[in-house]
């Protein structure tokens, strides 16, 4: 399985990663090598096998619907790159 530079650009867009133009081709080569290695999986016989998402046979725990966390807005905004008046700043979204 090989990935073309165009496919790499598309995947990078989906993953919200900007790639410098000169990195696209090396990434295409490396990702293709990884997918070649992963391709061994197609030889495994898995017709009747249930997919395994998780090592533990458990269900999500439930707890009473009560507030258990303090409001720590100031602590969390103190580590944000750009805030103003308690709000996170981002580039203009709506014209």
């Amino acid at each position: 399985m090989s990935l073309s530079p165009e496919q790499v650009k598309q995947v990078a867009r989906l993953a919200r990663l900007s790639l410098p133009a000169d990195k696209v081709e090396p990434y295409a080569r490396q990702l293709s090598n990884i997918l070649d290695m992963v391709g061994q999986l197609s030889n495994a016989r898995t017709d009747e096998v249930q997919p395994m998402a998780h090592p533990l046979d458990m269900v999500q725990r439930l707890r009473p619907d009560a507030v258990t966390e303090d409001n720590r807005r100031e602590d969390f905004q103190a580590i944000a790159p750009a805030v103003e008046n308690g709000l996170y700043l981002v580039p203009k979204v709506i014209e």
Binding site: I34, L35, P81, A82, Y88, P91
Partner: protein, 491 residues
């Protein structure tokens, strides 16, 4: 003997007998870090002031007759665990300025003087970026060197954890293991490292890589030291939804049990082509030691084990691509300058903040989860994961422990595999299966090839950490590989 050569038990006894104080012990380690770490690059952040304050508090507690077996003993924290008020960078430019607003559960458990073990945190140790790597060469803070040969890698991702402990710059360190990141570096640096059962140790506050595989553990200079710290780290945590509500076995109390009748299985797939002949000789000799201790040995088969690496490189990147979506340049972490739109902010913050290996894994994960490829890759890998798990279930119906190599060979040279991701991934060929199945596994020293350490791996059934540690401890009573020090760091 110098302080840094003492076991955790000897340190605890020395503190109680007032042969030295925790402040003196902590200073001893801080001095060693100052003297030796330029050569190793194992620490990213040294928290000297905080360490001395914790040590003074530990001394006061001990003077009042309070404290437990680990009170006042120093420890290095892998920089993947959130430490309140201390930078938690996870080996990444993305988090270079991130001061964690809360403590990971294991940080509370190990360092809290009242409810926890009262250990002293020396600092935060280096690692591959977001724990993605097998050589510690993907760290934004530069590679860590192997104390046994400074031109070689210490393994990864917990490279700083093992280098600091192997060189005597910490008595013990925390580490994490998603596909071998505790065991492979322990093997390459002559340490004892244990990855417990998935769910045994809380993941709360441990920066997520692949959530169905990640598990925290310990690297130490003996099974006894590892048992003491694992005991303190383990246990149910309501803040981690995959934490298992189940009592912790008495790991230390179980170390002395004789091995008479222990059934050990050797998976034939682990002794096939690819294993270095020198490493094989060491492991075969270790098997003979176990036989002399009363264990019985038989061959077992894990027929799907050779598919562990391809399975992992679908499952782990898929989970990583989801987990790392949280880094958006808005709430915390690196933010690109002068973004013109929200998308531009996301793309450039992530393009600048993540290194090449992390970007590769995000892209692989995004690809295998994308429309049209999900069944062929992700669903297929989840099915093979089940086959690997079933292999272990069958093996553990016949034997108590599975024994094999941890890595294919001794530590390789820095730079040897950085241009070839697939060659780097194959480092974890023997370790990944335990993460996919969720079972506990450990590495311990079993010999040297050309002056470089070789580790062997023990794997146990779910929640059989105690049996593994017992088997490792008995081996260490009969051998002295784990007592060897790298030249230049002994004194």
């Amino acid at each position: 003997m110098s302080l840094h050569e003492l076991s955790l038990r000897a340190l605890a006894e020395g503190l109680r007998a007032k042969k030295f104080s925790s402040v003196e012990l902590t200073r001893h380690y801080l001095d060693r870090i100052a003297a030796h770490d330029k050569a190793l690059n194992s620490y990213v952040t040294v928290t000297a002031e905080r360490a001395l304050a914790q040590a003074a508090a530990a001394d006061a507690a001990l003077a009042r007759g309070q404290g437990g077996p680990l009170t006042g003993i120093p420890l290095a924290q892998k920089d993947i665990f959130c430490t309140k008020g201390v930078r938690t960078a996870c080996g990444s430019k993305m988090l270079d300025k991130f001061i964690a607003p809360y403590d990971a559960t294991i940080v509370e458990k190990l360092h809290d003087p009242a409810g926890g073990a009262g250990m002293v945190m020396l600092g935060k140790v280096n690692m591959d970026e977001f724990a993605m790597g097998s050589s510690n060469e993907t760290s934004w803070y530069g590679p860590v060197k192997n104390p046994w040969d400074l031109s070689r890698v210490p393994g990864g991702s917990s490279g700083g954890s093992v280098a600091s402990v192997a060189a005597g710059l910490a008595p013990v360190a925390t580490a994490t293991d998603t596909g071998g990141s505790i065991r492979q570096p322990a093997s390459l640096t002559n340490l004892t490292g244990i990855k417990p059962t998935y769910g045994r140790v809380s993941r709360y506050g441990m920066i997520a890589f692949a959530s169905s595989l990640d598990q925290a553990g310990v690297v130490a200079r003996s099974a006894e030291d590892a048992a003491a710290v694992l005991q303190a780290m383990s246990g149910y945590d309501p803040r981690d939804s995959t934490s298992v509500e189940r009592p912790i076995d008495d790991y230390l109390g179980g170390l002395a049990a004789p091995l008479q009748g222990l059934r050990i299985g050797l998976p034939k797939e682990y002794f096939a082509e690819g294993l270095d002949p020198g490493a094989r000789t060491c492991i075969e000799a270790a098997v003979k030691v176990y036989q002399s201790l009363g264990a019985t040995v038989r061959e077992v088969s894990l027929p799907n084990a050779p598919l562990s690496v391809p399975t992992y490189y679908v499952v782990a990147p898929a989970e990583a691509s989801s987990n790392l979506a949280r880094f958006d340049g808005v709430r915390y972490g690196h933010r690109a300058e002068g973004a013109t739109s929200l998308n531009d902010l996301y793309e450039r913050s992530r393009g600048e903040g993540f290194g090449a290996e992390v970007q590769r894994r995000i892209m692989i994960g995004t690809y295998v989860l994308s429309h049209g490829y999900y069944d062929a890759y992700y669903l297929k890998a989840q099915k093979v994961r089940r086959l690997i798990y079933e292999d272990f279930r069958r093996a553990f119906a016949e034997v108590d422990l599975v024994l094999g190599p941890t890595a294919q060979s001794v530590a390789f040279k820095l730079g040897d595999k950085t241009d070839d991701p697939v060659a780097m991934y194959l480092n974890d060929i023997y370790t990944i299966a335990a993460n996919l199945a969720g079972i506990p596994a450990m590495s311990l020293p079993c010999g040297f090839v050309g002056g470089l350490p070789v580790g062997m791996q023990l794997m146990g059934n779910f929640f059989e950490e105690g049996r593994m540690l017992n088997a490792a401890h008995q081996f260490q009573l009969a051998t002295d590989f784990h007592r060897q020090w790298p030249k230049g760091f002994a004194s």
